[in-house]
Every structure is written in structure tokens, then in C-alpha cells.
Symmetry: C3
Subunit: 396 residues, 3 copies
């Protein structure tokens, strides 16, 4: 997985992309070259870390994290990424803030940003709200910077919203790119993004939506499969279709896990709540209607229970290419007989790919660090090249 640093630096410079003072919110807002730049920076940072080269490109500066939902993995990925670049994380705990109330988003966005270089936001609970909120923060920062309130324009990084989960899917992509030996080798590969049974309900849509919109850009044959009723947000389906057409890949939707797994090179079985359910849930959450939420949960779990056969197990895996498709998951997975009685994946299949999923997750801090680098540096290739040449030891 080790890369040639000097070659990558040249490739990065040759891309000539300019993401300075922009944000990273949705992968489909980014050009292919921009994504390539972020992937390249991520690999450079990972390699330099492995080689014990200091990559702290900030001597001081704050990184604000704003988690509107519990998080361990993303929290540590963000903290790791920021630390790797020399930034100090300060958490915006909304229990102690007014950022959620209408007017004050634009105010609080500025109040927390006087010496801030990046704002990472996770807001995936409310359909139609998460991305909107992130945009609102970004607009407020644009205004603050333009008006001279802020000396610098902090980058906003989407750590998961209702639409997309770019730090996850780009880590997934970097992993399979490395697994298959390059982006060009992904052309024609089949990936099955499928729903899977879980004893909980209402898991976010951002991962499947992020996967179908991203993987279709690389000439892959993406099959999305889920039981009837577990639809994704329509706009993301349209983007996936458009991407598939443009890249020479394909995008197919079915209601059969077997169909999706058939001859797949990669499988990504994962539970989610349907778009319709999530919309109802959003409305109930906003009203604080706890009996209604309880009722919805009951109804959904009953519906879920009809699809317990959507499990990634030996029988399913046998359908894949040579019975040896690569299993992916954003973790934590619901593992049958381990973390629950019936889950998304059998213990045997998970164990076979456990270390692979850990390595997949291991790309995430570097992807986040790459997004920050791309959005806060006029010339990332120059900055990284200087750090590489300086070759300061990260650890004495």
C-alpha cells in the first residue's frame, strides 16, 4: 500500500485544482479532479505518517467539531486528522450553546471561528436538515470572512449529513482502490450496495447514498438492493444514474440481495431506515412526540423483521465472484451471535474480513486531513512537498 511520495506530489501538482476557501460537503459537488486531489493528499499524508515525517502545517489554529449525534469513530478520526496537521480540537457542545436556534446559526458560526481553521459537522438525524445546516454555517463563514470579521475562512467539512457521508465513502474508496491496485482497475468491477437486517431501525441513509453516488463515478457496476419500501432519497438515485452513464459504468436497482451479490467483486451490506420512515421520524423528533416515535419504532421493527433473511452469510457470499468478494462495512456492524441475535452479517463472514474493515476505517483520518488540507491551502502540493523535504521527525 506504500506509495512513491515524489511521484504523487507531482501528480497532485499536475491536477492543478483550486479548492482554497471552499468546503467539503457533498462528493457530487466536486469534480473528478478535485476528488483525485483529495485522494492523493490522503495517501501522501498516510505515507508520510508511516515514514514518521511531521505533517503539521499549522503551528496554531482551532478545529471545531460539532457532533449533533453520538460518535466515537468519527470523533476520533476528526481529532486524529486535525492533530496530524497541527490543529487543536475544540468541541462545540450544543447543550451549552444556542447554535441550533434560527437566527443565531450565522452568529455562533462566527463567534467560534475567530481563530478557527476548520469546522467539522455531523448532523445526520433529520432528513432535509443536515446538509441545509452545514450550508448555513458555510454561508455565515463566507459572510464573516468577506466582512472582515474573520482573518481566515475556516473550511466546513461534512462529517455526515442526511445526504452524504463523504469522509466514510472516500475512505471506502481509497481502500478498494488500494485493494484492487488502482482506480483504473475498478472499471467493470461489480459492487453490491445492499440493505441488511438489523435489530435496530432508523440508521442513516448517508452511507448507501454516498456509496452509490461515488462508486458510479469510477466505471463500476453498482447494484443497489433493498426490500420494497426501503427507498433512498430520490435525488441521490438520479445522481448515481448520471454518474454511471458518464463513467461507462452502470447503476441498477433491485429488491434482491441475491441479485446484487451475484458475481459481485465487492459487497457492502448495511442496514438503513427508509427515506419515508426517516421523514416521518424527522417530523416526530421535531415535535418531540415520544409516543409517536415509540409507535414508529414498533412498526418499523415489525417491518424489518420480515427481512431477516437479508444477512450477509456464507450462502450469500457463495454467490459472489469466485465466492470471494471483498466485504465492506463502515463499522460497527451488527454481527449475528456476537453483537446481536440476528444481524447484518454472520460472525464467520465478518471475522474473515475483520482486519480488512479495520484497514478500510484506517483511511478515514487521512481523508479528513486531506479535505482540510485541500480547502485551507492555496497550493497543497507545495505545502506537502516542503514538509517532505524538511523531513522533520514526527516522533523523536
Amino acid at each position: 500500500m506504500s506509495i512513491d511520495i515524489e511521484k504523487s506530489l507531482k501528480e497532485l501538482a499536475a491536477l492543478g485544482v483550486d479548492m482554497y476557501h471552499k468546503d467539503f460537503l457533498l462528493t457530487w459537488e466536486k469534480s473528478d479532479k478535485e476528488l483525485k486531489a483529495v485522494f492523493t493528499i490522503a495517501e501522501l499524508l498516510k505515507e508520510m505518517h508511516a515514514k514518521n515525517i511531521d505533517t503539521s502545517m499549522f503551528r496554531t489554529g482551532l478545529a471545531v467539531s460539532n457532533f449533533r449525534d453520538n460518535s466515537t469513530r468519527t470523533r476520533f478520526s476528526f481529532a486524529s486528522a486535525c492533530n496530524l496537521l497541527g490543529l487543536a480540537v475544540q468541541d462545540l457542545d450544543e447543550g451549552k450553546s444556542q447554535i441550533a436556534h434560527g437566527e443565531t446559526v450565522r452568529e455562533t458560526a462566527n463567534m467560534i471561528s475567530f481563530l478557527t481553521e476548520v469546522v467539522g459537522i455531523r448532523d445526520d438525524m433529520f432528513i432535509g436538515k443536515g446538509h441545509t445546516y452545514q450550508k448555513e454555517v458555510a454561508d455565515a463563514l463566507d459572510d464573516g470572512f468577506k466582512q472582515g470579521v474573520l482573518n481566515q475562512r475556516p473550511a466546513v467539512v461534512n462529517l455526515q449529513c442526511d445526504l452524504d457521508h463523504p469522509t466514510q465513502t472516500m475512505a471506502d474508496m481509497l481502500f478498494i482502490k488500494n485493494h484492487f491496485g488502482g482506480f483504473e482497475n475498478l472499471k467493470g468491477k461489480k459492487i453490491a450496495m445492499t440493505w441488511a437486517y438489523s435489530p435496530s431501525y432508523g440508521k442513516p441513509l448517508s452511507v448507501p447514498q454516498g456509496v452509490i453516488t461515488l462508486m458510479t463515478r469510477y466505471g463500476m457496476n453498482v447494484e443497489l438492493a433493498y426490500p420494497k419500501g426501503y427507498d433512498l432519497q430520490p435525488e441521490t438515485m438520479k445522481i448515481a444514474e448520471k454518474h454511471a452513464k458518464a463513467s461507462g459504468g452502470s447503476f441498477k436497482v433491485s429488491n434482491s440481495m441475491e441479485s446484487a451479490f451475484k458475481d459481485a467483486d465487492i459487497v457492502y451490506p448495511k442496514s438503513w431506515g427508509s427515506f419515508q420512515v426517516m421523514e416521518r421520524r424527522t417530523a416526530l423528533l421535531e415535535k418531540g412526540d415520544h409516543p409517536g416515535l415509540k409507535e414508529l419504532e414498533k412498526e418499523c421493527l415489525a417491518e424489518n423483521a420480515k427481512h431477516m433473511d437479508w444477512e450477509c452469510n456464507d450462502k450469500m457470499m457463495a454467490l459472489t465472484k469466485g465466492g470471494e468478494a471483498l466485504y465492506q462495512h463502515c463499522l460497527p456492524a451488527d454481527i449475528t451471535d456476537v453483537s446481536c441475535k440476528h444481524g447484518e452479517v454472520s460472525a464467520k463472514v465478518f471475522e474473515k474480513y475483520r482486519i480488512a474493515t479495520y484497514k478500510e476505517a484506517g483511511f478515514k483520518p487521512f481523508v479528513i486531513a486531506a479535505m482540510i488540507t485541500a480547502c485551507t491551502k492555496k497550493n497543497p502540493a507545495q505545502v506537502l512537498g516542503d514538509l517532505y523535504k524538511a523531513a522533520q521527525k514526527r516522533v523523536l
Copy 2:
């Protein structure tokens, strides 16, 4: 707003003040020269930040924050300030500590300070307690340093107490100093520090008390106005009178918002609870008397409601000098029809000065960093001069 760094460094050196191993608790304990030094350091740090010059004067060291009341703005200002100087913030969460119980203040103060350079404390809920607590911590640190428990004497910085809010009022002051083009231009200017209606009650007294005691030192004509019964702590009124006399300014108290706004150059309309109410509230909070607190709130809100006309709106602003007084607020403001039905300020007036209030707030991190610099360095001008000459890039 940009300054001449070399000139400011010379002025700072010429002041020849020595605040090393002292604390920053109340502005009125500081000499004019000491305040000047802190203002000058704040401007130097702000300018060096704008010029991308690294100002981290600590390679390692902890900054302890102790918030005994919720806070977003001050929390981020403190975190930003400490980070700008190279310190790492560690929060003292009293839910997990015994620092509140009598005897152990002196013990805990030492236990958290073995490698600590600054302790920032916000304690504004209890009349007669906040400043006393900060002094107690400071005395414990003096003792620990003298006895050889601590290698260094951490500075205590008042992030708001029952008496004063120096990081806020000095940020306010730096803003108007820059707005009017220098301290000397403030002489003879009229500032109206007035109560204003808010749908909540019991807001701290520290801002109005801090404003009247500080602004009177610069030859300004300060008019404090509030409805009958909304008194401040008497000792701060006396200090304001003394300062006004010494500086050639004036300090007037009235019960009319109109009177205060008349021909004012600056207006600072803001809600607060009366001294008497705050004393009753302190007693009830200490007893944990929730029904009593509920009763007091009801009573106070009823009293507040009689003064709904204390709103900063077009009509009021028309009374000010040329109808164009500068509006100030420590934020967040209660804005009529935006954050509440009736508030301290109309949406139209607030919007006109919104960016100005953001810029006002933008001085706070640098004021805090300046206080830390002044109290932890034998020769701040030398240290800042060395950093300026080294001219390390803060961001690569």
C-alpha cells in the same frame, strides 16, 4: 484597524509595566499603564495573527478552564487565546471534581497546576462569591509556588465573575478605541450603558459594572440608566465615580433610557437582574430552594414586563448623536421578533450593527491572550519582538 508592529512594540517596552506572576481579576485593580500594556499586546497579537506570524510562546503547557456556568463564546475565546500562544486547554469539570467544597479549593488549585500556565475561571452566578472564589484559587497558587509545589505560578484570568467581566469590557473598549481612532478620541464621548428589556431574568451584573468602571477611565461621559430597582452593586458605582473624576469624564445615573441615549456617541443597552434580586437568588440557589426560585422568577418577570419600552429601536436611536450612535452588545442579544417576541433591541437596529458587534467580539480572544502574556512573561515586549523577528509562518 491594522497597526504598526514595531511602533507598538516600542510603546509596550516603554510602558515598563511588570505584571509577571500576577492575575487579571478586576480592571480597577490595574493601573492605567497596565491596561494600556494589555491593550497593546492584544493589538500586537491580532496583527501578527492577521499577518500569519506564529505567536506560540509556549512549546508545552496546560491552560485550565473552569466554567461554573454554561458558555460558548467565552469558552471558544479562551480556547482560541490559549491555542494562539501554544497552550493546550484542559477543562475542569466540577461534576467530576471536589473543587467546590471549602477546604479543597486550595488543594485542587494545586493538583491541577503542576504543569499549568493559566487558569481561566467563569463564576458569575452567585453575588459575593465569584470574585472571592477566584481570589481563593489565586492565593492557593501563590502558596503552592512559594512552597515549591509548583515549578511555575499559573496566572488566574477572570472570565466573568459577580463583579467584573474584564475580557468582555476590554474587548468592547478595544473595539471603540479602533472605531474612533484612538483612546485620545474617546475623551468627551458619551456612552449610554442602559438596562434593556428581556424575556428572561437574572442576567449577570458583571457587564454593566465592568463597563461603567472601565469606560469612566478614558475621559468619557458615561450615563448609566435603568428602571428603578435595577441597581448595580454599590461598590462598582463608587469606583465609576472615582474614575470619572480622575479622568476628566463624568458618571451620571438616571432612570431614563431616553436621557441616556440623548446625544450619545455609543449605546450599550442590555438586560440585567438587579443587585437585590441577585442576592435573593444567590441565597435561594445555595439552599437549592427550587419553588423559591420559581416564585422569584415569576415576580421578576412581572416586574420586567413593566419595562418593555426599554428597547433599543429606531425611535431611541434617533435621540443619539446624529441618530448614528454606535450600538454595542456583548452578545447574544435578545432581538425582538428574531430570538424572542420582545427583546433588548429591534431587528432593524441590530442588523445595522450586527457586523460591528461581531468585530467587537473578535477582540476577545486577543484580549485574553494578552492578559495571559502579560501575567506569564517578565518582558512581554521582548518575547513578542522575538516572535515578530523570527517570523515563523503560523500556517504553512
Copy 3:
């Protein structure tokens, strides 16, 4: 207390110990030389800190703290230690994590460690669980490093478990070593590790267990005394016996505070819950049996109340060598008439040794930093020597 840095560096190099990629969980798993190395590094770091020499041996890197019990002192000691070396602390808050649930320990351990250099864990509530959990994390990290999931193997540092509290007892030891002028002067000294009355119950066993197992290694005469029924875990008693035999010291157990204090050079009176009580408590906690816990507390407090005479006061101290034994405590102590009505120590005795106990605690951050240094560096003497020669100012 100041040391000769160059001499210490040579001694450290001469020890030739290799703790690289190991953990620091239990002192009795470490050789005498390994302990000596950690003590020497701690003194070197303390002296370099006092001399304002930068010791940040990490330019970037995370330090994960995992407190499964409330903590102020240890939290700040760990934060201070990590900051001193250049690491940034990220707290793993299990309210927001799944690390506690069976399977996922190994997963979460890896997920939080991609850019992590040390994981500090406090888990002292559950007999038979704390150390086991720390081992489980360590094993998961071993596996992750071996499998290429992690670029580096983070060290696990025991910040208190059910068996041992090495960061505390090694700080205690460094203090008495300095107090008596060297390890060799401890030979033949008598230390009384005794139970003492407290109005609370169920305090951890790790301190007395850690003290008897560690102090017996230095030729000291250790007398452990407690009322009948307040037994420690048997395995730690056996280790203490073995150590005493090997070092030429002695290990005696009695049920008399007077016997232990008789001619003692050092006394360490401290409350703890008995092993049997702690086992019952563990079972009740696991079942979430709150009435059972209430019942157990009542029973234990009644038992405790029979031993109110186990107080360290003038009368007891008069029994010690020349009436002038050194008093030690891990803090906070339950002080009669100060923090409670009847406690572990009289106000007069505590006040006499108060500053001494603060200085004792002052070694802890440096002990933790030394453990991290020892476990993450192939050649700590080289690294520290280089930092000493570079002589960068920690504070400008």
C-alpha cells in the same frame, strides 16, 4: 530535589532496558531495572521542566484517555504528562461509545488508535475486571499493529485498575526516595500502610495493594494493618511477601494501627473497602441492583463505624520514629473537622504534612510521562539527551 541531568542520562543508558512497544499495567510485571528506568526518566523530565527545557518528543500524536470512573487529579496528571511530551489528549467518553460491549473492545481499541501513541485507562470499580479490560485493549492493539492496521503500537498505561495504581505508587516512591536521599537509604525503613476510617465506603484497593507490592522491593519493612475483614486481594499479598524476601525487607500483616505506626518512618493511613465487599459490590453493580447496593452500603458503613478509632492523629503519630514519621496520602484525604466529621486524619496532622502530600502528588505527571516515554521509545536516553542538548526553551 534537583538532579544532575548528565549523570542521570548516563545511568539511564547504562540500565539498557527495552520497554519499547510494551505497556505499563502492573509494577510487579516489571523488573527492578525497568522500574529504575521509569523513575530516572521521570526525574529527568521533572528537572528539564524546572529548567524550562522543551521535552516535546512528539510533534503530533493523540493520547487517548478512558476514565471509567470520575477523576480530577489523574485526569489532569495524564493531560499534563501527555502535553509535556507533545501529545494531544482525546477523551474516550463511553457514554458515546460501544467499547464496553464484549466483542467491540478489540474493534474500538483499533478505531481510536490510528494516530494514537498512548491509551491511558482508569477502571477500578469492578474487582476482577479492571486489569482484564486493560489487557484486552493491549492485546487488541498488539493484533492491530501486527496486522498492519496501525502504523504504530500505542502504549497502554494503567491509570488505576482493580489490582494496582502504578502511577500513584511510583509517584509516592519517588517522593520518599527524594525525601530520604536515595533508594539505598530506604533499606530498613519502616512504612505503615494502614486502613483508616472514612465516612464513605468502597474506596478502591489499588493503592494499598500497589504500595505493599512496590515498597517491599526496596528493602523496606512494610507493615500492612487493617481491622479484621478488610482484606486485600490475596494475590497481591503473596507478591508483597515474595518481594520482601527478595529485597531483604519484610512484610508483616496486623490488625492494629498502633502496631503498624510503632517506630514507623513513614505512615500511609487510608480507607478502603474489603476485597469481599468489593466482590459483592461488583456483582450488584453488574446487575444494576440499586436496593442491594444501598443495603450493602448501610451494612458497610455500620461496620466502618466500629473502627472510627483508626484515625491518624497526634496520639498515633507519637508512636512513630521520634514522633516524626513522614505522612503520605494519595489525596484527597478525609480530614476530620475539615472535609467530614470523622475522617482518616486529624486536621493538625494533615496540615503539618499538607505541602509534603502536594509535592508527592507533583511527581505523578512526570511518572506518567516517563511511562509513556519508556514504552514508546527504542532509546529513551538518546531521545532525552537530544532534547537536553537542543535546549529549546519550553516557555519563551
